[in-house]
Amino acid sequence: MSARSAWRALHYSAKRRAIQPTTPYRCFSCTRQASEQAKPDHERMTHFGFTNVPESEKESRVGAVFSSVASSYDNMNDLMSLGIHRLWKDHFVRSLNPGTPVANRPPHAKDQGWNILDIAGGTGDIAFRMLDHASNINHDLQTRVTISDINADMLAEGRKRSTATPYYNTPRLSFVEANAEHMPHIPSDSVDLYTVVFGIRNFTDKQAALNEAFRVLKPGGVFACMEFSKVENGLFDAVYKRWNFSAIPLIGQIVAGDRDSYQYLVESIERFPSQEEFRGMIQKAGFLIPGKGYENLTGGIAAIHKGIKPVTTQV
């Protein structure tokens, strides 16, 4: 019997069952109140996984997902991607090669080192790798990273982890809680490198975030984004989809005890635009695209997109 109940617990799927609202008590005088409270029909909708939600709601819903996964975020990533996400992140940082080697520095430059803005980097995965690469490979001790995340729980996780790094409590690492679509605290033309790794698919308005990235970057600055994308090989795609929709929610349920959040992750991956579409969005924000504009990782499971803000006064 216990085996059967355990099986039920595992097999409980996160299918969204139609919620039957209990009929509220309605008197004649309440009707007006009710109609005033009703959501306006014309509110813009956006997708949250496979369901559509009003734009105003998506932010809080995504917030709830990431608050619930924050503590087990890394273990889960390891289990879901079989550890490959570490290779992707290492490759991403290595290809960006942050930091200027001391020997190549112009002698009288006024601000040394890069100013990196890591959006949606709450747990600091990318930020610590960037700083490590700058310090150990390029011997650049001035490059600094600002971690920005909309979710306080993810930032708290990052703060906790930063205590174990040499950058804890130094000016090289700072944390900001902000919405990437609107960052008035960051001046225009101030950032060398803007990175967003596995974050942009959760944004309510991706184009607004891209436009904001274009604003804060210095001319010549780079927008770099790593995100789940579309697998190009049909056979591999079938295997990958099967893994995504069957295994990942199950792993989420067993390891993190939270099936719905992982169901959302999988659905949001599925809804994210293809490599070409997203490249078009980056171009639309005004960025120059280097070469093909994206680099597929592991057959297109993830892709690195890059864009460069043009320099207006070209020599």
Binding site: T100, G221, L288, G291, V311, T313, Q314, V315
Partner: protein
Amino acid sequence: MASLQRLPAPQRAISSIQLIRPTRLIHTINHHRPSPSSASQSPSTTLTTNLSFKTPSIPIRTYHSQLHPRLPPHEYTNSQTAILTASLPHIPTHGVTAAALTAGARDAGFLDVSVQLLPRGEFDLVLFWLASRRGLLRAKVEGGEVFGANAEELSVQEKIKILVLERLRMNSEIKDVWQDALAQMSLLGNIPLSLLELHALSNDILTLAGDTAVDATWYARRMGVGAIYASAEVVMTRDPTPDLLETEAFVERRFEDKEVLKGKVEGIGSWVGFWGNTVLGVGRSWGLKI
């Protein structure tokens, strides 16, 4: 029979080609006969066809024709070209490295991070050097600097040799760091593009020298010139003489080798031909139905 019937008649094939690519035909006509009447009409026709068909300015062709405008030596965008051009003066000091690219980006008014504009990194610098020198060689020949006044008297063979040496002399200021570039080019992923560039160079050299062969030697000639140039480049990196005298002597020897090899191949050809004919004749004299 069924397969034969499926083939389109020549007339239909031509008309279908015209249907697919009308711009090329109009463009060729305009290019061929720039008479004043057609010139006055052509802008409107080309404009409308361009608008309606949205063909790229330089359509990709699988064949070469003198009537078509030449392809640009490289396909970099303006910003990429700005960074790469500014990086070239840094090659003698920094070598063909990311440091040269960074310094170039800084000179061109970009940031250190802007080298991300070049997805292949250092190899882009190598390719740009090769492509831009190739364009420069062409410009020099068309400006009449290379062959001088007696261009008419030189044979194609002599012209090829002059062009190969001229191209090698363009490398003389960076010959000390060129081994880095050769190493970059020999990486497995970079080999196809390097060979493509070598082919483009040997093709340019042969075209500029006035070589008009369209038979099977077309391939042999390009391979020969490519092999001589590539091996001479390796010799050049170890050449201590100021005017590349050793390299020049090496190229001379290779061209002599090429002549010897050509003679041998021709000799073997005629030998095989002779014995083939003889065997055929003997067989026929015995009454075989050959």
